[in-house]
Amino acid sequence: MTGLSTLFTELGSAAKAPTGLVPFRFREVGGDILLTNFLGDWLFVTQDEFRALTRGELDSASPLHDKLASRNFLREGLDQAKAAERIAYKKRFLNWGPNLHIAVVTLRCNETCVYCHASRANMDAVHTDMTPEIGEKVVDLMLQSTSPSVTLEFQGGEPLANFPVMKHVIEYALARNRAYGKGLEFTMVSNLAMMDEEKLAFLVDRKVQICTSIDGPEHLHTKQRILAGGNAHREAVKWIERINKAYIDIGLDPTLYHVEALLTTTREALKYPKEIVDTYVGLGCRAIFLRPVDPFGFAGRTAQIVEYDRAAYNDFYRTAVEHILDLNRRGEQVLERYGSIFLTKILGDDDPNFLDIRSPSGSGIGALAYNYDGKIFSSDEGRMMYETGDPAFQIGDVFTSTYRSLMKHETVRALVMASIRDVQPDCVNCTYTPYCGVQPEHSYRTQGTIFGRMRESTLCAVHKGIQDFLFDKLRENDPKTVEILQRWTTVRARTHFIHASSAS
């Protein structure tokens, strides 16, 4: 960085801010200087323009003055009422309690994965199955959320291993919700190897969204996910195709309704950015989430095999997303989820309420995780840590806790305070703070503190790397690329999956 690194040393005591600017943060991106303000407005200025600003020079007749005024960087003319309205709108997720309720219906799993986050148990460990009674208590608590819409996500282990209870819980939730009238959705995260036609018919009929894991091309997937006596990749692909056909058969638009798949980027996966993207596109997926491996569950123990330097991840991300952009230029409609989340904030002036990238984070107040035994956690990551011996994030259980006692739990309060980004060291000065968020459980797992030290945080490195990449694209301002990135901020709602029951 030739510009900023020496600029203030050269200026010495001559450095002064021009009067009339609102507080802003700055960062060099691709040779220009990116400015962001507290509202999330952003602007690129040249190094010369920035140098003038640092000398306190801002001519009211200059184009720079107009640029700054048009993006709310000048106090004069700033509509304070409108600014307050924008902040309230983007933070509207604070008006409600948890929307996402994760029910781990069993720890049993038929696959063994090198990075397993879920802390699986063997298939004969039936004592790790959730009982119908616990499942009902999960639903009762979930429906007390102040959120007008709730999603019950079934996870494991492999949730299909305890399908009867999952079925029971779905029927119970549908019946109970008649009294609450919430927008109710179901999601299941499954490796699909235990799927059959009967289960599928039930899931399609009850509008359960199905999400699976795909690690990329077959050779990579089967290396990382071992299915005893079978091929994990072929099973997943076979059922993705079958489920997508089932959606078409009932008249749903396949561009909107299809199986969603999730990637876990391991060290091995870094070698195959383009092949991974092509695998997803070949399966009809319209969204790829290039998630780095998490340090939870077994991945914490197998770190030396699956972990990597985050600079290598950022190279992988750039190559993969450049390929996705190329595909879009050729007419393919596919987006990268991380990019989409940040761009919705950067270009869309909104917050998509992605729980791990918001401020404060969604731990407890945005999501709850219910273990098979009825214990309740501030997040699924908190539950994973309990399964590996640390109960720090347990905030109650379905037998004794009331909904309000969970929300008022001291751990939840601490998690909220620790994840307000504007008041954390480093974040307080970071250009990307208006768009960023860090899950405090991740900081606790990796650094022993829910506050985290961002300069040493792998999550911070990833978020900065992705935003550097996206802002560089915006700086280059290629009309076709900007149009594609703009399109990624518009996510069509999948209304078919919402059980919009009116209270009776």
Partner: protein, 163 residues
């Protein structure tokens, strides 16, 4: 003597520094971060010198890394204290809004669970049902002091509820 010094021992590291370098709360906070990995001992090493000993719980741990991490955490804790002090109102307002929005008003279950029995139903700790004369009648000197203390404790309790 340098402001900060290290002494590597067998599976442990001792860090000494001037007590004026960091606020005491930052030292406690940084030391606490290590209790899952280390036995942590805080002591005074001499005139205005603080000594922190981190003894690894597991054999073979690189205690030099712990020393570096401790320094970084100290800095983070000290800076965070400053930021939070400057932004106390912002933190309180966001936290109150987040927790208030998530918890919502008390429901029927919670009201039913309140301890309202025959013995407690007519308790009137705030003296709402008392006449003005009963509540503010002249008290003896001792009684007055007690009443002031009670008033103060009511104020504290009300503040907590409001937050």
């Amino acid at each position: 003597m340098s402001d900060m010094s290290f002494h590597l021992g067998e599976g442990s590291v001792r860090i000494e520094f001037d007590e004026g370098l960091y606020p005491k709360d930052a030292i406690y906070g940084a030391a606490y971060v290590f209790i899952d990995r280390c036995w942590v001992h805080l002591d005074r090493a001499g005139d205005r010198r603080i000594q922190v000993t981190l003894k690894a719980k597991k054999p073979g741990a690189d205690t030099q890394i712990y020393a570096g991490e401790f320094q970084n955490e100290l800095l983070g804790q000290a800076w965070r204290l400053r930021i939070v002090e400057e932004n106390k109102k912002l933190v309180e307002s966001i936290t109150a809004r987040a927790l208030g929005g998530a918890a919502g008003p008390p429901g029927l279950d919670e009201l039913l669970a309140m301890d309202i029995g025959e013995e407690t139903a007519f308790e009137d700790p705030l003296g709402i049902a008392m006449s003005w004369e009963e509540k503010y009648k002249k008290k003896g000197k001792g009684e007055g002091a007690k009443a002031e203390a009670e008033d103060a404790s009511e104020g504290a309790s009300g503040g907590e509820k409001a937050s």
